[in-house]
């Protein structure tokens, strides 16, 4: 979950494919193999499509090598403490040495892990209460603007930071907040180096980068509302605040609910690049109030590399939590909105 765009970010622009439904369909169709003639009909279809079967090969191969082969690596999480890559290669270590479950137990007594979970949740909950409503508010305000050209121009300006890399975004703000050379830093001092400011700034930076892009989805949902509703509301004597509250917001409620569930499903990920870059800005001094789950796993698995079995166990545990959150979110949206999460 570290690399690439999140599905949510992309769904903001395009139409999201109904993966949740696909999962449900797939689950039900697995049961069909008991039906008489099932294998025969499948074989007939294999023959029918035999010429385009090989289209699947490259994608299947890449997935096998770079997604499924690493899953075998889960075995490392069950290796004893004598796992040591300086003594032999990966296969040697896998076949020699003891097996144990204690690595998973060690996660729960690890202080840094609980600190990381706490900080991750704090940052994400603040984001949920600030960044998420901010996108909706901006979208409503933009659509309330009478001049549609102006509102589009503003929307496009607000999306600019989304196309900058995190290194640039943090570079810009570090420059502005630099007490020696920055415009704002002369007033505020170097707040980026202060522990107390880390979380507020993390939330602020994600809002600065993402709010404009996030509001596109809501903006197009508002644009899709039938204009005659507004006309009749005006005839009934509703003012704009009432129209906003009783018409616009309820109409885009499905979109809001969907994005809310999607946000909550991604609760354990903070955005690795952002947090890690912010941490490195403080001359590499990692304090406990800045450590989040993504960066903690990265730190012990790639930077330290001292306890590979424990690092693997933590990675697998984190993946399992993320999976559980997404499946719960998918179940909620499929039940209540008849639509998959992704």
């Amino acid at each position: 979950m570290i690399t690439g765009e999140t599905p949510a970010a992309e769904a903001a622009g395009g139409t999201a494919p109904p993966v949740g439904e696909t999962i449900t369909q797939a689950a039900s169709s697995f049961r069909r193999y008991e039906e008489p003639g099932y294998w025969k009909s499948q074989w007939k279809r294999v023959k029918k499509y035999r010429r385009i079967l090989f289209f699947l090969l490259p994608a299947a191969a890449f997935t096998l090598i770079f997604s499924y082969l690493p899953m075998l690596g889960i075995l490392f999480a069950f290796k004893g403490p004598e796992f040591n890559l300086t003594k032999g290669d990966v296969l040697y270590n896998l076949t020699h040495g003891s097996w144990t479950f204690s690595n998973f137990g060690a996660i729960f007594v690890d202080d840094s892990f609980w600190k990381a979970v706490g900080n991750t949740l704090i940052i994400n909950v603040i984001r949920l209460f600030i960044c998420f409503p901010l996108s909706i508010i901006i979208a409503v305000q933009l659509s309330e603007l009478k001049n549609q050209t102006l509102s589009k121009v503003i929307l496009i300006i607000l999306t600019i930071p989304n196309f900058l890399s995190w290194a640039i975004v943090i570079g810009i703000w570090a420059g502005l907040l630099n007490p020696d050379t920055g415009f704002l830093g002369q007033v505020t001092g170097y707040i980026m180096a202060q522990d107390a400011w880390f979380k507020p700034l993390a939330v602020f930076f994600s809002a600065w980068k993402g709010a404009g892009w996030g509001c596109i989805l809501f903006y197009s949902a508002i644009a899709a509302i039938d204009k005659t509703y507004y006309e009749s509301a005006t005839l009934e004597g509703a003012n704009r605040l009432q129209k906003m509250w009783y018409l616009t917001i309820p109409s885009i409620m499905p979109t809001i609910a969907l994005m809310l569930v999607l946000n909550i499903s991604g609760m354990m990920a903070t955005g690795f690049e952002q947090i890690y870059t912010m941490m490195q800005m403080n001359a590499g001094v990692l304090t406990e109030s800045q450590i989040v789950l993504d960066t903690y796993i990265y730190q012990i698995s790639v930077v330290d590399r001292t306890n590979i079995p424990f690092a693997t166990a933590l990675g697998v545990f984190n993946g399992a939590i993320a999976l559980a959150l997404m499946l719960i979110g998918n179940a909620i949206t499929t039940k209540t909105m008849k639509r998959g999460l992704w």
Binding site: T15, V46, I52, L145, Q148, L164, W166, I168
Partner: protein, 321 residues
């Protein structure tokens, strides 16, 4: 979309002329008079949005004018260069910093081109058979791909796999890990399902092979979705450095494999700059800003597409309703 929110005019009034200039308050003689609440809301609205634009634009202008400024007068810069100088750009693009910058630039170009073409080609090809309604074992194959989207084994196994392949400290580790993109596979599949099967049948009657059918008919018809997927891949590759942080160390070998975003990230910590040069010490912020400005030019070149994309996305929304 294009019309106003409150066009309460009687049919007798001739239609307003569509003005080209921006008008915040449009004059309309037959308009229902706005209540005080509405006028107040309008003002709050405009002030809020104006504030938003300032918060976005001011840091950009301030920082980017540093790139064109001389290091000694950085404190006076507000939103334009006070002491214009192109020396920082000269340093980054043609001077002592040029080797590092262009090497990183080249790596990023390689990464972006290979991943954009490779990933989207591979995923579109896989999506084509899966878009057939009666493709055998369709759900099973789909599950095979979707599972990788939902669950990953974490960093350690992927890191060790790359080390077994001998791809650590090489840009190819980042390239190979980015090829597989199930989200795009699903976008393509959904789009291909919407293409009428009559067209394919007609092409088959004319003697087209399956490869010809895919590359000559399906791909040209799917250019909108392929275009936006390619766009997101390009932006993601150009700006991302999460995988580079994982696989590429700061050793001499790793230095040659850094993509541009990773190079900028290292530059932020200023340990890539030579501390013995007094000019460089005074201009370190400006050099940093110049490198960042130079790095976003390729993305800026794509901005007309972004504008088109956002507009078409909005039209899509309004058609759906």
């Amino acid at each position: 979309m294009e019309e106003n929110m409150i066009p309460e005019q009687s049919p007798a009034v001739p239609p307003r002329k569509e003005g080209r200039k921006l008008r915040l308050f449009q004059k309309n003689p037959n308009k229902i008079r706005e209540s005080k609440v509405d006028i107040f809301l309008n003002i709050v609205n405009i002030v809020f949005l104006f504030l938003g634009v300032v918060i976005i634009v001011f840091p950009l202008l301030n920082y980017f004018s540093l790139a064109f400024n001389n290091g000694n007068s950085n404190l006076k810069v507000v939103f334009y260069p006070v002491d214009p100088s192109l020396k920082s750009f000269e340093y980054v693009l043609a001077g002592d910093g040029a080797l590092d910058f262009w090497r990183a630039f080249g790596n990023s170009v390689l990464l972006t081109v290979v991943v954009t073409i490779g990933s989207n080609l591979v995923e579109a090809m896989a999506a084509y058979p899966l878009s057939k309604r009666d493709f055998p074992f369709k759900s099973g194959i789909l599950m095979y791909f979707i599972i990788t989207m939902l669950f990953s084994a974490g960093i350690v196994p992927i890191y060790l796999l790359m080390s077994m392949f001998g791809l650590l400290d090489s840009i190819w580790s980042v390239i190979l890990i980015s090829i597989s993109n199930v989200t795009h596979l699903l976008y393509f599949k959904t789009f291909f399902e919407g293409i009428p099967s009559d067209i394919e049948e007609a092409a088959k009657l004319d003697g087209a092979t399956d490869l010809q059918l895919f590359f000559r008919i399906i791909v040209p018809m799917s250019l909108p979705i392929i275009g936006s997927c390619c766009f997101f891949t390009i932006v993601g590759c150009w700006n991302g450095y999460g995988s580079a942080l994982m696989f590429i160390s700061q050793s001499a070998k790793g230095k040659a494999a850094q993509p541009l975003a990773y190079y900028l990230y290292l530059m932020l910590q200023s340990d890539t700059l030579n501390k013995n040069d007094p000019w460089l010490m005074a201009n370190s912020k400006n050099v940093e800003a110049a490198a960042m400005v130079a790095s976003i030019i390729p993305i800026l070149l794509m901005y007309p597409y972004v504008v088109k994309y956002i507009k078409s996305g909005l039209q899509l929304g309004s058609v759906k309703g």
